[in-house]
């Protein structure tokens, strides 16, 4: 059913060498390639626009949802809306990923808009991996949006990873956090060549005792550039911590513009941003353990983006 290119991309973005367990929806060049529902997880195609609705029944325990997207046609522009409705007390692990293989000369683009309605006390981990490959001169462009609404006591871990091959990316993440709910956002990004990446984020802590932790780690190599705008707003007694760390190499450029807004006397928000080259001491330390300078650099980056 799947061809070699599709399989290889799936391995990259979804760690899947074959069709995984759980609910699955594979989209390839704008078409539904494969779908599998479970008793608790129902995936249906939207009728008014491109995309799917994913309904997860209340109190579903430890199930997985995989919704990878593949783009292999040069010049293909894909715009898709995926809406998740996660019932009260459900515990799910959602893996989305997008891989573009562009061997042609036209730009290929996938814009995924993911909206999450996370019910009371539900616990969700959401992983999104981006990968690009191909020998053509056409650009590989990904512009994902992730919108999350967390009800009371809900807990979400959002992990986004983009390590290779995406030429241009503009990511937007928005989260509204209710009472006693919490979200951890982990972003890992590596750009090289002349790639360009922008990540913008708005987290609203609206319910009492809402919490967020934003951890952004990025590496900019060659002449690539990155811009981060993490913004957190505290509207009640809440806690937020934003940490942006970037390693800059070659002639790359990185801008980080964190913004924290406290609209309540009991809102406690912290941001830290650090951009710099790899500390020379770290490299020399690893060299004393027998690595060459290049090997040392590789180990440091691997750990940093783990």
């Amino acid at each position: 059913m799947l061809n070699e290119i599709q399989k290889r991309i799936l391995e990259q973005v979804a760690d899947m060498a074959k069709i995984p367990e759980g609910a699955v929806n594979i989209r390839s060049d704008g078409q539904k390639e494969y779908r599998h529902n479970t008793k608790n997880i129902q995936i249906t195609s939207k009728t008014d626009k491109e995309g799917i609705d994913i309904h997860i029944a209340p109190f579903t325990k430890d199930e997985e949802v995989h919704i990878p997207v593949i783009v292999t046609q040069s010049g293909f522009h894909d715009l898709v809306y995926n809406d998740f409705f996660i019932g009260e007390g459900a515990q799910v692990n959602i893996v989305a990923g997008c891989g573009i293989s562009n061997c042609g000369d036209c730009d290929s683009e996938h814009d995924g808009i993911h909206t999450f309605h996370v019910g009371k006390n539900a616990k969700v981990t959401y992983t999104e991996k981006h990968y690009g490959e191909g020998t053509g001169t056409g650009k590989r462009i990904l512009n994902p949006q992730t919108i999350l609404y967390l009800e009371e006591g809900a807990s979400v871990t959002l992990e986004t990873v983009q390590i290779k091959g995406v030429d241009d990316t503009k990511r937007y993440t928005k989260a509204e956090i209710g009472k006693d709910a919490e979200i951890t956002i982990q972003e890992k990004l590596l750009t090289h060549g002349d790639q360009h990446a922008v990540s913008e984020m708005d987290v609203f802590l609206n319910g009492e005792n809402a919490k967020t932790r934003v951890i952004s780690r990025s590496v900019a190599q060659d002449t690539s550039s990155q811009i981060f705008y993490p913004r957190v707003e505290g509207n009640c007694a809440c806690f937020g911590h934003v940490q942006c760390d970037a390693i800059i190499m070659g002639n790359a450029k990185v801008r980080a513009i964190p913004e924290i807004t406290c609209n309540h006397v009991d809102a406690s928000l912290i941001h830290e941003a650090a951009i710099g080259r790899i500390a020379g001491e770290q490299i020399t330390k690893l060299m004393t353990l027998g690595l060459t300078a290049e090997e040392a650099e590789e180990e440091i980056l691997k750990g940093f983006l783990r």
Partner: protein, 244 residues
């Protein structure tokens, strides 16, 4: 055998150049356990860095097992069997204790092997192997992990720079046992920079470095009493003149 010939290190300072190491010549026999001690700022760390290749001397040569290594890189010296535990080890965001031990050993370590190195420095392996070597570790923890990596590297020449610094009494006792073992096994050449009597007492030989020079060198029984009597390295001049 390690041999330093007329090593000098000069750095630019406010009023002209400062000589941190002044024409040091020194040999270190294989499988000896030697402690370098001396006042703060005397040049001990500088000496260690010159041996490891972290600093290039302004003059002089270094020979290791007969080979001139003065122009070799840090990594090349490491491959020849020289290792150095930093006085102030760097921290790494995202790198785990187990990663550092693996890199040091140059191969994947079994859980038991990795644990054994941590145990030797008094760390409870279960709690630490998966920890990041970042600012979340305390000073004493990072220091002990640094020593564990040098143990894992298991080089022929191990240089430890104030391994006792910042380490609590209980761990220090464990650490002294580890050094005692290294001493008794007599398989490696050990050069420890230390201010601690318990480590100094383990030494086959003490080298006293002050003012960028080797001031004295000899067995513990001879050198240690001299230090206690403050006959060689003290800075009594400051008190005499009442100014600095």
């Amino acid at each position: 055998m390690l041999e330093l010939r007329n090593i000098s290190v000069t750095v630019p300072a406010e009023n002209g150049d400062a000589d941190i190491l002044k024409n040091i010549s020194l040999t270190l026999e294989d499988k000896k356990f030697v402690v370098v001690t001396g006042p703060n700022g005397g040049g001990k760390t500088t000496l260690a860095k010159v041996i490891m290749g972290l600093l290039t001397p302004s003059a002089g040569q270094i020979f290791y097992n007969g080979q001139d290594i003065t122009a070799l890189s840090i990594a090349q010296r490491a491959k020849l069997g020289i290792s150095y535990g930093f006085q102030q080890p760097p921290r790494f965001k995202g790198m785990k204790v187990s990663d550092l031990l693996r890199i040091a050993a140059g191969r994947f370590l079994t859980h038991e092997e990795a644990c054994s190195y941590l145990t030797k420095v008094g760390l409870c392996a279960r709690d630490y192997l998966d920890r990041d070597v970042d600012t979340s570790l305390s000073g004493g923890e990072v220091k002990r992990i640094e020593i564990a990596t040098v143990l894992a590297k298991n080089a022929d020449l191990m240089i430890y720079d104030e391994p006792e610094a910042g380490i609590d009494l209980w761990s220090f006792a464990r650490l002294t046992e580890t050094f005692q073992e290294l001493h008794d096994q007599q398989q490696k050449t050990i050069l420890i920079i230390s201010h601690q009597e318990r480590i100094i007492r383990l030494a086959d030989e003490i080298i006293l470095v002050a003012n960028g020079q080797v001031q004295e060198r000899g067995p513990v029984e001879k050198i240690y009493p001299m230090i206690l009597n403050d006959t060689v390295a003290g800075c009594n001049r400051l008190e005499v003149e009442g100014k600095c």
